[in-house]
C-alpha cells in the first residue's frame, strides 16, 4: 500500500493550493474599498471559472479550427483534410455511421424511455422498476462495453454458446452470429449499447414531466371519452413537449461525442468507427493531428445547429421571466 502515500500527498497539496486561492479572492473582495467592491466581486467570482473556460474550451476550439487546415507536419495544406474526409471510403464510412448513430440513438432512447415511463406510471414498485432501467447511467461506457461483449459473445456453430443472444439464436435453430464483426449491422449492435445507457436518462426526465401534467386535464379527457391512446397523444404529449426537446437534444449531443463504446468494443474496426473515435485515432494514434482536428471541426459543425436552437429557447425563457 506504499503507493497511496505519494498520491495522497498530491491530493492534499492540490486542495490546499485551491483553498488558498479561493481564500485570497474572498479576502481581496471583502477588504476592497466600497467604491470598487461590486466590480471586484464580479471579477473575483467570475475570473477563475472564466479563465479556465477560456483556456480549456474557447482557445482550443479556435486553435483546432486552424489545425484542421494543416498536414501531419503542421504545414498549411488548405482543405486537403476535408477532401480526405469526404473522399476516402473509410472516412466516408465513419461519417455514415455517425449519422446513423445520431438518428437512431436519440429516437430509440427517447421512445423506450417514454414508453417505459408511461407504462410504469403509478404502477406498484415504480421506484424499483425505475432504478433498474436507470442503472446503466451509472456504468461507464467501458464497463458497458465489457457487459455487452458478454452478451454478443460468439462461438463457432456446434459449440456451446457463451453469449446470451447466440444461445437464443441456436435454441431457435439459427446459426450463431458474429454480432460485432459483420458490417454494416454491427453498428446497430453498438448503437443498442448506447440506447441501453441513455434510455434511463430519458425515462427519468420524462417520467417527472408526465407527473407534472395536471391530473385534471387527463381526467377531463377521460370523461370526454378519450381512450388511453388519445389521452396520451392529445394531453400527455403536448404537456411534456419541453421535456421531450431537452431529452432529445441532450442525447443527440452525447451521441455525437460518443467514443468509448466504439473504442472498447471494436476499436473502430470492421467499419464501425464514428467521427469522435476516428478523431482520436487520427490525432493520437496515426500521427495526423490535422485530420483529427478537421474531424473535430466537423463534429462541432454538426452540433452547432443544436447549440443555436438551445440558446434561442433559453433566451425566450429568460425573456418570459
Amino acid at each position: 500500500m506504499e503507493f497511496i502515500g505519494g498520491k495522497l500527498l498530491q491530493v492534499v497539496i492540490a486542495l490546499a493550493v485551491f483553498a488558498a486561492i479561493i481564500g485570497l479572492i474572498m479576502l481581496v473582495v471583502d477588504k476592497a474599498p466600497k467604491s470598487s467592491r461590486d466590480k471586484l466581486t464580479v471579477i473575483g467570482f467570475l475570473a477563475p471559472a472564466a479563465i479556465l473556460m477560456l483556456v480549456g474550451l474557447v482557445y482550443p476550439a479556435i486553435q483546432t479550427s486552424f489545425f484542421a487546415f494543416t498536414d501531419a507536419k503542421g504545414q498549411p495544406n488548405g482543405v486537403d483534410n476535408f477532401v480526405w474526409m469526404f473522399t476516402q471510403p473509410e472516412a466516408l464510412v465513419t461519417l455514415r455511421n455517425t449519422i446513423v448513430w445520431t438518428v437512431l440513438v436519440p429516437l430509440l432512447s427517447t421512445g423506450f424511455g417514454l414508453a417505459y415511463a408511461v407504462f410504469i406510471d403509478k404502477a406498484r414498485g415504480e421506484k424499483v422498476l425505475k432504478a433498474l432501467v436507470f442503472m446503466p447511467m451509472a456504468i461507464s461506457f467501458v464497463g458497458a462495453g465489457i457487459i455487452w461483449k458478454l452478451v454478443y459473445d460468439y462461438r463457432g456453430p456446434g459449440i456451446e454458446q457463451t453469449g446470451v443472444l447466440n444461445f437464443l439464436r441456436v435454441a431457435m435453430g439459427m446459426q450463431p452470429k458474429q454480432f460485432l464483426l459483420d458490417a454494416p449491422e454491427n453498428t446497430i449492435f453498438l448503437i443498442i449499447v448506447m440506447v441501453w445507457i441513455q434510455t434511463g436518462f430519458a425515462m427519468v426526465v420524462l417520467s417527472a414531466a408526465i407527473k407534472g401534467v395536471p391530473t385534471e386535464l387527463v381526467e377531463a379527457a377521460r370523461l370526454d371519452g378519450a381512450n388511453p391512446w388519445q389521452q396520451f397523444r392529445n394531453v400527455t404529449i403536448p404537456g411534456i413537449r419541453g421535456a421531450l426537446v431537452v431529452v432529445l437534444t441532450t442525447i443527440t449531443i452525447a451521441t455525437l461525442k460518443v467514443f468509448d463504446i466504439v473504442r472498447t468494443m471494436t476499436a473502430g474496426n470492421y467499419d464501425t468507427s464514428v467521427v469522435a473515435n476516428e478523431m482520436y485515432t487520427q490525432a493520437f494514434r496515426a500521427g495526423e493531428p490535422g485530420r483529427g482536428a478537421a474531424l473535430a471541426l466537423v463534429l462541432f459543425l454538426l452540433v452547432l445547429p443544436i447549440v443555436v436552437y438551445n440558446a434561442r429557447v433559453l433566451r425566450q425563457q429568460r425573456e418570459i421571466r
Partner: protein, 326 residues
C-alpha cells in the same frame, strides 16, 4: 384537489399498472358501455405492464450476467469446457479468486486494479470539489451580480457546454506539455482538464437553482450590512445544498466514468491513469486472461453504482433543475 371525488381517483389508477384487487365493477349498477371500457382499459394496461416488465428484464439481464460471470471459475468462462453464465444456476461452481487476482496480485501481467482504483478516487474527489466551488461562485454572480453583458455572457457559457471535448484535446495537451511544461506522471493535467470541461454544465445547473432563491433574503442580508462574500457563503451555499449535491453526483459519475480525457492527459502510467483506462486496456487485449474481465469491470462500476443508488434522489432532482424549468 378536494373537488376530486374519491372513486375517480381509484379508477384513474386502473389506467396503468397492475392492480389485482379492483373494486369489482360487475357488482355496481352501471350500464354496459363503461364496463366494456374498463375491461378494455384493463387489457391495455396488462399489455403495458408486460411491455414494461420486458424492458426492465432486457435492461437488467446484461449487468446481471456480468455479475454472475465474475464469480465463475476460469475454465467455465473460457476454453473448451466453458459455457454461458446462466448455467451457473445448475452447475453451482463459485469462486471469489478473480476479485483477488484483479485487485491484489502484483505481477506485471496482473491488472493491479487497486492502484488504478486509488487513482480514480484521487482524480475524481478534487475535481468535484473544484467544480462545485468555482461553478457556484460564477453561478451566483450570473444570477445576482450586476454587470453589463451578463445575459449574453451566460448564454455563451451555456453554449460552451456543447463544444465537443474532441476539439480541445490537441491544443490543451500542447499547452500543458510544451508551454507550461507540466510534469507527466502527476494528476495535475487531469484535474485541470476535467475542471475546465465540467464548468459550463456546473454553472448552468447551479445558476438555475441559485436564481430561484428569493431576492428578499439577499436584500435583507445586504441591509444588515453583509457583503457579497458573506451572502455567498452564509446564504447562497447553504440554500443550494440540493443542487450542489446533484451536481456533485453528476460530476463524480462523469469523471469516474471518463475514458477520453484520461487517455489523452494521464500518460497511461499506473501512477496516474484511472480505472476506466486500465479496464479498456485489459479488455482490449483478447487474451488468455479474459476471464478476469467481468470481475475487473465489476470492481470499476461498484463505486459509481454505490454513489448512484445512495444518492439517486438528489441526482434526479438535479437533472430536472437543469432541464425543465420554464
Amino acid at each position: 384537489m378536494t373537488a376530486t371525488p374519491v372513486p375517480d381517483e381509484a379508477s384513474q389508477e386502473t389506467r396503468i399498472g397492475p392492480r389485482a384487487e379492483q373494486p369489482s365493477v360487475t357488482g355496481s349498477p352501471e350500464d354496459a358501455a363503461p364496463i366494456m371500457r374498463r375491461v378494455k382499459q384493463k387489457l391495455t394496461s396488462r399489455w403495458a405492464t408486460a411491455a414494461a416488465l420486458l424492458i426492465a428484464v432486457v435492461w437488467t439481464v446484461p449487468t446481471f450476467g456480468l455479475f454472475v460471470s465474475s464469480f465463475r471459475p476460469a475454465a467455465k468462462q473460457v476454453g473448451p469446457r466453458s459455457d454461458g453464465w446462466w448455467n451457473f444456476f445448475e452447475d453451482w461452481q463459485f469462486t471469489f479468486q478473480h476479485y483477488i487476482d484483479v485487485t491484489a496480485s502484483a505481477g506485471s501481467q496482473s491488472p493491479n486494479l487497486s492502484q488504478y482504483f486509488v487513482n480514480s478516487l484521487a482524480i475524481v474527489i478534487p475535481v468535484t470539489l473544484f467544480i462545485l466551488v468555482l461553478a457556484s461562485m460564477a453561478a451566483y454572480i450570473f444570477a445576482w451580480g450586476k454587470f453589463r453583458g451578463r445575459d449574453g455572457l451566460f448564454i455563451f457559457v451555456f453554449a460552451l457546454q456543447i463544444i465537443p471535448l474532441q476539439m480541445s484535446l490537441i491544443p490543451l495537451l500542447q499547452l500543458f506539455t510544451q508551454v507550461l511544461q507540466m510534469p507527466s506522471g502527476s494528476y495535475a493535467q487531469l484535474w485541470i482538464a476535467h475542471t475546465m470541461f465540467g464548468l459550463p454544465l456546473g454553472i448552468f445547473l447551479l445558476h438555475n437553482f441559485i436564481s430561484e432563491i428569493p431576492g428578499e433574503m439577499i436584500e435583507a442580508a445586504r441591509v444588515d450590512g453583509a457583503g457579497h462574500t458573506t451572502i455567498f457563503w452564509r446564504i447562497i451555499l447553504p440554500l443550494s445544498v440540493p443542487a450542489l449535491a446533484s451536481l456533485a453526483i453528476f460530476q463524480f459519475l462523469w469523471v469516474w466514468n471518463d475514458l477520453l480525457v484520461a487517455l489523452v492527459f494521464s500518460g497511461g502510467t499506473a501512477d496516474v491513469a484511472p480505472i476506466t483506462q486500465r479496464l479498456a486496456e485489459i479488455s482490449g487485449t483478447r487474451g488468455s486472461r479474459d476471464y478476469l474481465n467481468p470481475a475487473a469491470a465489476f470492481v470499476s462500476i461498484i463505486v459509481p453504482l454505490a454513489v448512484f443508488f445512495g444518492l439517486q434522489r438528489y441526482f434526479v432532482r438535479g437533472l430536472l433543475a437543469g432541464g425543465l424549468k420554464g
